[in-house]
């Protein structure tokens, strides 16, 4: 797609901004502020995790050893790679190639779906073996900290899973719009911000992987 068919840059400018550059910086700053609140949302769970891991270190280690580490490892590789393809999609968008951006974003969405598929396999296994949170725990391990591990396991991976679904939705919408030529090399802020959200989801998982799977 060439810039000739794209709307002129001036049409992207909202009336309360002086220039497109200022509008872009404001949009980025707003996104970073939102991402900061997301970080703190997950931090609350990580704080709870730290406390209970401190109190029940041995039980947490034992419960973690019962997880399928290979799923965590594969999912980490999948998410990291999907972040890479999102970055490549942004690179296409900066060059005015909306169709290329769409291809890379939809590829990333497919990897998000693969991630969720592995998560489903894992959750199905937990439900089958009774590795459920808190008082619903009916698994084999005896320690008092084990059910608490699964409380935090489901809260953290569950909230992260919701974020993966939201991220896939955002990438799909923005990717399809980019494919229709909604953005240009001069203006592709939505592509950039959608990418930022996906990268944050990736970063959260980068911390979840060692904390949950590699104790």
């Amino acid at each position: 797609m060439s810039d000739a068919t794209a709307p002129p840059a001036a049409s992207y400018l909202a009336h309360h901004f002086e220039s497109l550059e200022k509008q872009t910086h404001a949009a980025r700053l707003g996104m970073w502020l939102f991402l900061a609140t997301e970080v703190l949302l997950f931090t609350a769970l990580f704080a709870a995790y730290s406390v209970y891991r401190y109190l029940f270190a041995a039980d947490f280690a034992e419960a973690s050893r019962h997880l399928q580490t290979w799923i965590g490892l594969v999912n980490t590789i999948v998410l990291v790679t999907s972040s890479f393809t999102v970055a490549l999609g942004l690179d296409r968008a900066t060059k005015g190639d909306g169709k290329g951006a769409r291809a890379f974003f939809l590829l990333s969405v497919a990897m998000g779906a693969l991630f969720l598929f592995f998560k489903y396999v894992e959750y199905a296994h937990h439900f089958h073996t009774g590795e459920l949170p808190g008082r619903y725990y009916t698994g084999d391990l005896g320690g008092p900290g084990v059910p608490m591990f699964f409380v935090l396991y489901f809260l953290i991976t569950g909230l992260h899973g919701i974020h993966v679904i939201v991220g896939m939705t955002v990438l799909s919408v923005i990717g399809l719009r980019a494919g229709k030529g909604a953005y240009s090399s001069a203006y592709h802020v939505p592509v950039e911000l959608a990418g930022l959200y996906w990268h944050l989801v990736d970063i959260i998982w980068i911390f979840v992987f060692p904390l949950i799977y590699l104790i």
């Binding site: 550059e21 910086h25 980025r28 700053l29 970073w32 502020l33 991402l35 900061a36 609140t37 970080v39 703190l40 931090t43 609350a44 990580f46 704080a47 709870a48 730290s50 406390v51 209970y52 401190y54 109190l55 029940f56 580490t69 980490t76 590789i77 990291v80 790679t81 972040s83 890479f84 970055a87 490549l88 690179d91 900066t94 060059k95 808190g134 008082r135 619903y136 725990y137 320690g143 008092p144 900290g145 084990v146 059910p147 608490m148 409380v151 090399s185 001069a186 990418g195 930022l196 990268h199 944050l200 990736d202 970063i203 980068i206 911390f207 992987f209 060692p210 904390l211 590699l214 104790i215």
Partner: protein, 137 residues
């Protein structure tokens, strides 16, 4: 960083970041395998956790700086993310040091130095009658 607008213009001048993205991706994959391999060694004394967190922080920094372009962006965005990290440290550090410095018996049953766990204690909030099981009257 002398001219904060330079980067926005650079991006519009079609500077290609593909090579940089590829290097970061390769580094992220290498660190992922490294942290997994090191966890197999079962390093004792809390060092395993420290190493895992350092590797995770390194990976996170790579993503933030290069995939999320904080390296190229202006100061305000950096301050936002650094501020959130300060609050991460406060939230986790203060909560953890509360539990770590308590009179041990005040910690949940079953944890080290506290009361032994009863049959229904799971280290969570205090006794609620279990659901789905018959409670004797």
């Amino acid at each position: 960083m002398a001219d904060p607008g330079a980067v926005a213009r650079n991006e519009q001048e079609h500077v290609s970041h593909v090579a940089r993205y590829a290097v970061v991706w390769a580094a992220l994959l290498a660190f992922t395998i490294l942290t997994w391999a090191l966890s197999r060694l079962h390093i004792g004394g809390g060092w395993g956790l420290a190493v895992a967190l350092v590797i995770a922080a390194t990976k996170g920094t790579l993503v933030v700086l290069f995939f999320m372009h904080l390296w190229d962006q202006r100061g305000a965005n950096r301050i936002v993310i650094l501020t959130s990290l300060v609050f991460v440290a406060l939230l986790i550090g203060l909560t953890l040091s509360d539990n770590a410095t308590r009179f041990k018996l005040a910690n949940p049953p079953g944890s080290e130095g506290a009361l032994p766990a009863g049959p229904t204690d799971y280290g969570g909030p205090p006794a609620v009658p279990p659901r789905g099981r018959t409670v004797e009257n």
